[in-house]
C-alpha cells in the first residue's frame, strides 16, 4: 500500500474538482480551496490508498492541509 504525490493530485483533480495548480505546500483547507466535507472524502481516500486508519487525533490541518503534510503524515504513520 502506498500513497504518492500523483495519487493525491489526481484525487484532488478528479474527485474534488480542484482545478487550481497545487504545489506540495499549497494550503488546501485553510486557504478555502477545499471545504470540510471534502475532508471526509480525502481522509477516506488516504486511508484506503495508504492502508492505514486515522484516529480522531490524526484528523487535523497539521496532517491534512497540504500534499506535503499528507505525505509526511503517512510516512510517519507507516514508520510506526
Amino acid at each position: 500500500m502506498s500513497l504518492s504525490r500523483e495519487d493525491l493530485l489526481e484525487f484532488l483533480r478528479a474527485e474534488l474538482d480542484l482545478d487550481e495548480p497545487v504545489e506540495d505546500e499549497t494550503l488546501l483547507f485553510s486557504s478555502a480551496l477545499l471545504d470540510s466535507f471534502s475532508m471526509v472524502s480525502l481522509v477516506a481516500f488516504v486511508e484506503k490508498q495508504a492502508g492505514l486508519r486515522f484516529t480522531p487525533g490524526d484528523v487535523n490541518l497539521g496532517n491534512l492541509d497540504s500534499i506535503g503534510r499528507m505525505l509526511r503524515f503517512v510516512a510517519a504513520k507507516q514508520a510506526r
Binding site: 483547507f29 485553510s30 471534502s38 475532508m39 472524502s41 484528523v59 490541518l61
Partner: protein
C-alpha cells in the same frame, strides 16, 4: 432587554472570560469596555440616525462581538453582514437596512471600498481594532479608526422599547430578494429565558459558536452564555474545519450546531462512545436531525442532554424541542428523523390544511405557530409579512406560517417533521413528497442525508425525480434500482447521483439549489 444579561454578568463576573476567539481572550470587563467605546463612537458620529440600526461587517473577531454589543448598548439593533457574501448581495442589504454606520474588522476591509459604492447615503465606517493598511474611504463617507475611537462612557445606556429591533437578519427569499426578518428585543429575551429554564447553565460553561452572526442561531451561543457569565468559544475558520478537534481544544461544555456538522464528525471518527466526555448540553437545529447520528452523539457524550430544536428565524431561533432518550426515542422517530417535539412554553402550535383549518390528530399539515416569539415581520415588506403572518379562522392570534409539514401530535406524542410544504411536487400530475423519496434513498444507501429534486421540469410540474447522496461507496445504477423498488413507479425516479460531498450554503446546510443548478448545467454523474 437582551443586553441586560451581558450587563449583569459584567457586574457579577468582570474577570471571567466572555469571549475566546482565535488568540484573543476578552473578559467581561474588557468586552464591556470595548463595546462602550464603540457605542460612544456611534453616539458621537451619528447624531440623528435614519433607523436605530447599525451594521456589523465582521466575523469571528473581537470586533464582531464588540460590534454586536456596541450596537445594542447604543440602543440599536445590529445588522450582521458576512464578509464572505458576494458584494452585490451585501450592497443590497446595506441599502435596504438604511444604516448610517458600519462596524468593520480585518475580514471586512478588503471588500469595504467596493461595498461603499452601494451606499446611497453618507456612512460612518468604524474600524475599532488597530489594523494596518486601512483603505482610503471615498467622500462623503468617513472612516473612524481605532485611535479615534471615543472613550468608554459610564453614562446610563439609552432606553429601549421591548418592540425595538434587536437584530435584522436577512434570509434568502424565494423570489431571490433577501428578506429582512425583524427580531424584537422582547422576542430574543423570551427565547433566552425559556432556554435558561430548561438547561442548567452557569458561569463555568463554555459555549460553542459555530454559527456565523448572519445565522440567527448564533444568538443562542452569545446571549445565553453572556446571561449566565459563561464563555463564548468562537473557532477560527481553520478550527471550523475540524470541529471534532475544536470540542477538545476549547474544552466545550455546551454544543450547538446544525446536524450536518455532527454527520461530518461521525464520518471522521469523532463520535466514538465516550469521545465527548465534557459536554453537558448538546443542541441541534437548522435542518432535519437523523436518528443514527443522534444515537452516536448521545453515546459519544454520555454526560450530555441531547436535544433537537426546531424553528425558523421568523419565530426567533427555535420554538419547539425534543429530548433524545436512548430507549424511547427510536420508536418515536419517523423516516429515520428525530421528532421536533413540542412547542416552547407560551408558544402554541397549530397544524393546518391549505385553508388554515386545523387537521385531525395524526394527520399531516403545515405548522403554524403563535406566541411571544413571533417576530415583527419582514423589513419594509408589508406584502410578504401579510402573507406569512396570518390570523387563522377561529383564532385571534397572529400565527407564522412555517411552510414546514408536520404530523399533528396524537395525545402526548411529539411532533415529527415531514418536509417542506414547498417540496411537494407534481410528477406528471401525481402528487409526491420529496421527503419520502429522500427517506427511501437514505435507507438504501445507509447514509444520513439524501436529497431528491424534481427533474426535469415541465410547464405543469416535473417529468421525474433525481436523487443525490454523498460520501458513500455505492454504484449509482444499483442504488437507483434499489430505491426505485421502494417507491411507486409513478414517482419517476430516473437517477441517483453519488457525489463526493454535498455543496453547502453559507449556513452549513446542504445547498439544494446548487444541486438543481448542477442538473441544469448538464451534470450526468
Amino acid at each position: 432587554m437582551i443586553r441586560a444579561g451581558f450587563l449583569r454578568s459584567v457586574a457579577l463576573h468582570p474577570d471571567r472570560p466572555a469571549l475566546e476567539v482565535g488568540e484573543h481572550t476578552l473578559t467581561y470587563r474588557a468586552l464591556d469596555t470595548f463595546a462602550r467605546r464603540i457605542a460612544a463612537t456611534l453616539a458621537r458620529e451619528v447624531t440623528s440616525p435614519r433607523q436605530p440600526l447599525t451594521a456589523v461587517f465582521a466575523q469571528r473577531s473581537p470586533t464582531a462581538y464588540a460590534g454586536v454589543l456596541g450596537a445594542l448598548y447604543r440602543g440599536h439593533g445590529y445588522v450582521p453582514m458576512n464578509p464572505d457574501f458576494p458584494v452585490d448581495r451585501l450592497g443590497g442589504m446595506l441599502q435596504r437596512a438604511e444604516v448610517d454606520a458600519v462596524i468593520v474588522d480585518a475580514q471586512g476591509l478588503p471588500k469595504l471600498v467596493e461595498l461603499l459604492r452601494f451606499a446611497d447615503h453618507p456612512l460612518v465606517v468604524i474600524v475599532p481594532e488597530p489594523l494596518d493598511g486601512l483603505p482610503t474611504v471615498p467622500a462623503p463617507h468617513r472612516l473612524v479608526s481605532a485611535d479615534a475611537l471615543a472613550e468608554a462612557a459610564s453614562d446610563p445606556l439609552p432606553p429601549l422599547e421591548p418592540d425595538a429591533i434587536a437584530n435584522l437578519l436577512f434570509t434568502s427569499g424565494s423570489t431571490g430578494q433577501p428578506k429582512g426578518v425583524m427580531v424584537a428585543q422582547r422576542n430574543l429575551v423570551y427565547f433566552i429565558e425559556r432556554v435558561l429554564e430548561r438547561y442548567a447553565l452557569g458561569p463555568e460553561d463554555r459555549f460553542s459558536q459555530l454559527f456565523e452572526l448572519v445565522f440567527d442561531l448564533s444568538g443562542f451561543d452569545m446571549f445565553a452564555a453572556w446571561w449566565v457569565g459563561a464563555c463564548v468559544c468562537c473557532p477560527t475558520k481553520a478550527q471550523m474545519l475540524t470541529a471534532g478537534q475544536f470540542v477538545h481544544d476549547a474544552r466545550l461544555t455546551v454544543w450547538f450546531s446544525v446536524p450536518s456538522t455532527a454527520v461530518l464528525m461521525k464520518r471522521l471518527g469523532f463520535l466514538e462512545p465516550g469521545a465527548l466526555p465534557n459536554l453537558r448540553v448538546s443542541l441541534f437545529c437548522g435542518e432535519a436531525l437523523p436518528a443514527d447520528v443522534t444515537r452516536a452523539w448521545a453515546e459519544a457524550a454520555p454526560q450530555s442532554v441531547v436535544e433537537n430544536l426546531y424553528g425558523p428565524t421568523e419565530l426567533t431561533l427555535a420554538c419547539t424541542w425534543y429530548t433524545w432518550h436512548p430507549e424511547r426515542s427510536p420508536a418515536e422517530c419517523e423516516n429515520g428523523l428525530v421528532p421536533i417535539g413540542e412547542a416552547f412554553p407560551g408558544m402554541s402550535a397549530r397544524v393546518v390544511n391549505a385553508d388554515l383549518v386545523e387537521v385531525a390528530p395524526g394527520e399531516l399539515g403545515e405548522l403554524l405557530m403563535a406566541g411571544p416569539q413571533v417576530t415583527l415581520g419582514y423589513w419594509r415588506d408589508a406584502e410578504k409579512t401579510e402573507a406569512a403572518f396570518v390570523v387563522p379562522p377561529g383564532t385571534s392570534a397572529v400565527h407564522y406560517r412555517t411552510g414546514d409539514l408536520v404530523r399533528r401530535a396524537v395525545g402526548g406524542a411529539p411532533m415529527t417533521f415531514q418536509g417542506r410544504a414547498d417540496t411537494q411536487i407534481k410528477v406528471r400530475g401525481y402528487r409526491i413528497e420529496l421527503g419520502e423519496v429522500e427517506a427511501a434513498i437514505r435507507a438504501e444507501a445507509r447514509t444520513d442525508f439524501a436529497v431528491a429534486l424534481g427533474w426535469p421540469k415541465n410547464d405543469a410540474g416535473y417529468d421525474g425525480i433525481v436523487g443525490f447522496v454523498a460520501g458513500v461507496s455505492a454504484d449509482p445504477k444499483t442504488l437507483k434500482a434499489a430505491v426505485a423498488k421502494r417507491l411507486p413507479a409513478y414517482f419517476g425516479l430516473s437517477r441517483v447521483h453519488v457525489l463526493p460531498e454535498f455543496p453547502l450554503n453559507v449556513n452549513g446546510k446542504v445547498d439544494r439549489k446548487a444541486l438543481g443548478r448542477m442538473l441544469e448545467e448538464g451534470f450526468r454523474g
